[in-house]
């Protein structure tokens, strides 16, 4: 507040001083195409989803068994040694043993395709539920461990304090009781995968000449609806990114928003468009009846509201001359619905598409464009760091499996944000970015590989469209690493450092007006909030 108008560069009469142009630092960018689906004819939806579970189990079982062997070798209770059992069906009653498999949770409110079929509800997708748990009947929730041989129901107090979700690969230690249930004593997860070194896939650039560190900016949930009310913060955001907000002369001493010229790349994590762009069919039917207009077949241009995408295109076209953008699709964006969502097609962006890379020649991976419309989830290297992010569907869905109501009474209360970070950590340790696909998240039926299994541990793991900003740093288990626990992906260099992952839960911009900046050297995080000051006028 000490800033007097005398020293303020803006609150003074125009001067003749020449303002030097500010240059943005270059961005090093190397996306991975992990989630790119085959295009056109090669994309099939006839396959069974079961393969995905087998692929996942095959991939992660060795990793989790490695850890289990590490800890449980020689473990004994009352003179009985824990035995390793290969398949869940081989578990014998009363015998202390451990076994690895996939978690399957049967929950009362979980959408069930078989139920839908028997009730002949083929047409409508089930409405999203806040949770799959039924708090009034907790006993209906069953946790099972399955592999290719069969299923084993898990029980025990241990489970109550452990967060698990369908699709996670774990190893459990315990005994089968007289009911045929498996009493769990301990649970192990695959833990973090090998983390690549920084600049592993790229050549490290020569040290920057410029002063200060670069930043990567993350934003999600722009939620553009095309009405004027939602774009004011967006304006401010664009102003900031283009450098109109900060004063280039004043050095940032940590007291304000960082100089925008340090931001080398903007990552938009989904839900850029708010309202659905087509009018609700029911509503539309009523309207058209009223209108008494001509009956239309097929594409009805009047039911399509192009305003949101036009606005978004304008926003992109405005900032693209200055900053490269990675755009991820999200649940409300015009892309396919099932994960992995493919990038929003550039034809949607008549103005911004000039910055896209050209259409790829057959068989070759295109060079990443200045404006890169990517998949969701997405994986890639930015400034040498490995990023793995999703537009939030993965976290939202796992949250429905977990019971956070017990601890503080309200299901969707404020503390939910902390839960989300925990879930993100758990997903990293499960080595599975979207564990609940294909069970409760729609997914492409992969046949040959499960891309949701994380081959490498990212440096920055982010989820978009969360209710509030959260961040944390997690670390891998150093001692285990040094023992070579992680044989699955052992490289030559992974014992040199313990993996450290920066978790980011990126808030919905439309609600919070927050932009997240991550320092590219230290991975420190800062937040910039855009908004209007609700003055007395509005408060009344």
């Amino acid at each position: 507040m000490a800033t007097g108008s005398a020293e303020n560069p803006f609150l003074r009469p125009p001067s003749d001083e020449e303002l030097a142009p500010v240059y943005r630092a270059p961005s090093s960018y190397n996306p991975l195409h992990t989630f790119q689906l085959p295009s056109g004819q090669d994309r099939h939806y006839q396959q069974q989803y079961g393969d995905m579970y087998f692929l996942r189990l095959a991939k992660l079982k060795p990793a989790v068994e490695e850890i289990a062997v590490e800890t449980w070798e020689g473990f004994s209770i009352a003179g009985e040694h824990a035995r390793r059992v290969e398949r869940v069906l081989d578990v014998r009653q009363g015998e202390l043993c451990w076994v690895a498999g996939t978690i399957y949770m049967d929950m009362p409110l979980k959408p069930n395709i078989l139920d839908d079929l028997t009730k002949e509800n083929f047409t409508l997708a089930p409405p999203p539920r806040p949770t799959y748990l039924d708090p009034t009947q907790p006993e209906l929730t069953q946790i099972m461990l399955e592999d290719e041989s069969g299923r084993l129901r898990l029980t025990g107090t241990m489970l109550r304090s452990t967060q698990l979700a369908t699709g996670a690969i774990v190893a459990v230690l315990g005994t089968e009781n007289s009911n045929g249930d498996f009493e769990v004593i301990d649970v192990k997860v695959p833990d973090l995968a090998r983390q690549p070194r920084r600049w592993e896939r790229d050549e490290a650039p020569s040290p920057r000449k410029g002063t200060g560190n670069g930043k990567i900016a993350f934003v999600s949930g722009l939620g553009i609806t095309g009405t004027s009310s939602d774009t004011l913060s967006l304006e401010l955001l664009a102003d900031y990114l283009l450098g109109y907000t900060g004063s280039p002369s004043s050095n940032n001493d940590g007291n304000g928003p960082s100089d925008a010229s340090a931001i080398t790349r903007l990552v938009i994590a989904g839900n850029s468009l708010g309202a659905s762009m087509t009018v609700d069919p029911n509503e539309n039917a009523a309207a058209s009846k009223k209108k008494n207009g001509p009956k239309k077949y097929g594409y009805d241009a009047s039911a399509y509201n192009a305003s949101p995408i036009t606005q978004f295109d304008n926003f992109l076209a405005e900032i693209l001359p200055s900053i490269p953008v990675t755009l991820m699709a999200g649940a409300s964006d015009p892309a396919n619905f099932s994960l992995p969502q493919q990038g929003i097609h550039r034809a949607m962006f008549p103005r911004a598409r000039a910055y896209c890379s050209g259409p790829p020649a057959a068989g070759e991976t295109p060079e990443p464009g200045w404006f890169d419309s990517v998949t969701n989830p997405w994986e890639g290297d930015v400034e040498g760091w490995r990023l793995w992010g999703c537009s939030g569907q993965n976290v939202d869905d796992v949250l429905r499996y977990l019971d956070f109501a017990n601890s503080h009474g309200l299901v969707e209360a404020d503390g939910d944000g902390e839960a989300r970070i925990k879930i993100m950590e758990a997903m990293l340790r499960w080595r599975c970015g979207v564990p609940t696909a294909p069970d409760t998240i729609w997914s492409y039926p992969f046949q040959t590989h499960d891309p949701f299994v994380m081959q490498a541990c990212p440096h920055i793991f982010f989820a978009g469209n969360q209710p509030q900003f959260q961040t944390a740093v997690i670390e891998g288990d150093a001692p285990l690493k040094l023992n070579g626990a992680d044989t699955e992906m052992t490289g030559t260099d992974d014992s040199t450092s313990t993996p450290r992952v920066r978790l980011l839960s990126i808030p919905t911009f439309k609600d919070t007006g927050e932009l997240v900046l991550v320092d590219i050297e230290t991975l420190e995080v800062e937040v910039i909030k855009f908004g209007t000051y609700a003055g007395q006028e509005e408060q009344q």
């Binding site: 004027s228 207009g293 956070f404 003055g535």
Partner: protein, 446 residues
């Protein structure tokens, strides 16, 4: 530099025209650095209010670090705060990972807040430290709804879309990027300034046009690269040389090729109609708006055509407001028209030319069929949709609508068709409407 004239510009726009001027619109209009524009706004605000208090109202951007708001709205709980009570302890985590520390680094949250002049002091008091304050916009009255400001920038987008940001960004004070990659093949199609805010331009000043976008004269384009000539041509010349209409610069030529087949048929038939339009001096704002939307859809090379129209559109400042609503409606109509792929044979062309004052209808049905009129009889071939039902390989009945040509011969068109052009002087839309009605009856007969 145009610096000297900013007072005049602001006086005209803010005081006389009662418009809202943001630092960005000022910076674009005068082609000055955004910092300079902010200073201009400040200077103008100070001098005007010292002359006459409350004559100009400002909104400010305050950026800095805000004091922690009350915990309820605090989105940034650090790990420590809650680690205990939400997750009492998650044993699998702790067992698999002894060093489970949620690094609870304090995240700095900076804020960029838009504030009304009245609330400036209040807002300042919520800040712990302030990095910068500047004037975002000036307007004559207090803004009840700050969202109005987005309209200004929307206009900005449409007005200055011709200016390549890569070229002018430096002037505006945009952060430059040396590595920007842009494909040269496609030029972003330029959304033509529909409701052009030519109010700015109505105030054409002889002193500065060198610096300002030369829209002042209402027909020229700011982009120096493009030929300036066409826009300023008189409608009459254009009429005589229809080729001007399709004078896209070489850049837009590829765009044309990209057009889908559907539109190419429109495009072919277009020039004639355009000609008529530009010959109508009484063009009002709204049809130009609608027209514009349609063109966006159909063809890219035509925006230039609109400049003469939009210049006239500026006659009243609020015409643009109302035109937007109408535009939407028009758009809808337009779309409906588009959807019809059956064109009515149209005999209205010659009378149309005979009274050029007539408003051009949103869209004229184009004659695609050959029709000859002979002694009160019309004959020719026309295209009709026929329903055909047949069994396919798997034994299902399939109904397909197919376009077939049939020849016909009938009496001269019914009276309504003939009278239309004469009767519809005030509202040209009726032409389109009656055409539609005919189509409907065509469908309903089945």
């Amino acid at each position: 530099m145009a610096v000297a004239d900013y007072k005049r510009y602001l006086a005209e726009n803010v005081l006389n025209e009662r418009r809202t001027v943001t630092f960005r619109s000022l910076s674009r209009a005068l082609r000055v650095h955004s910092t300079l524009a902010k200073q201009m706004l400040y200077d103008f605000h100070r001098t005007e209010n010292s002359k006459r208090p409350q004559s100009v109202n400002a909104t400010y951007i305050v950026s800095g670090v805000q004091k922690e708001p009350e915990p309820a709205t605090n989105g940034h709980t650090n790990g420590e705060d809650r680690n205990g009570d939400v997750f009492p302890s998650s044993p699998y985590l702790s067992s698999s990972m002894p060093n489970q520390d949620f690094a609870s680094d304090t995240v700095t949250t900076a804020s960029v807040v838009l504030v009304r002049e009245e609330d400036l002091e209040d807002a300042k008091s919520t800040f712990e430290s302030i990095l910068s304050i500047y004037i975002y916009s000036l307007q004559q009255t207090l803004l009840q709804d700050l969202n109005v400001l987005t309209d200004v920038s929307r206009e900005l987008v449409s007005n200055h879309s011709q200016e390549d940001p890569l070229e002018y960004g430096k002037q505006w004070g945009m952060i430059q990027n040396r590595n920007v990659k842009r494909r040269t093949i496609t030029r972003p199609p330029v959304p033509a300034p529909a409701r052009t805010t030519t109010a700015t331009t109505a105030t054409s000043k002889p002193t500065i046009p060198s610096k300002r976008p030369s829209e002042a004269s209402s027909q020229t384009k700011p982009e120096p690269k493009k030929e300036e000539g066409t826009g300023s041509e008189q409608p009459s010349t254009r009429e005589s040389t229809p080729s001007t209409t399709s004078k896209p610069t070489e850049k837009s030529a590829p765009m044309k090729r990209e057009k889908s087949n559907l539109f190419s048929s429109f495009a072919k038939a277009k020039p004639k109609q355009k000609k008529e339009e530009s010959a109508t001096p009484a063009e009002s704002a709204e049809p130009s708006g609608a027209e514009d939307v349609f063109l966006d859809d159909a063809s890219d090379e035509e925006p230039e055509e609109l400049f003469p129209d939009s210049g006239k559109a500026a006659s009243s400042a609020d015409a643009s407001r109302e035109s937007r609503k109408e535009r939407e409606e028009k758009l809808k109509k337009m779309m409906e028209d588009d959807a019809e792929d059956e064109e009515m044979p149209d005999a209205a062309e010659p009378p149309e030319e005979s009274n050029p004052i007539d408003q051009p209808p949103p869209k004229q049905p184009e004659p695609q069929e050959e029709v000859t009129v002979q002694g009160g009889r019309r004959r020719g071939r026309r295209r009709v949709m026929k329903k055909k039902t047949r069994k396919d390989d798997e034994g299902y009945l399939v109904t397909v609508e197919e376009a077939t040509w049939e020849s016909f011969s009938e009496d001269e068109p019914a009276p309504p068709l003939k009278k239309k052009p004469v009767a519809s002087a005030p509202k040209g839309k009726s032409a389109g409407k009656s055409g539609q009605g005919n189509i409907m009856s065509f469908f309903s007969k089945k």
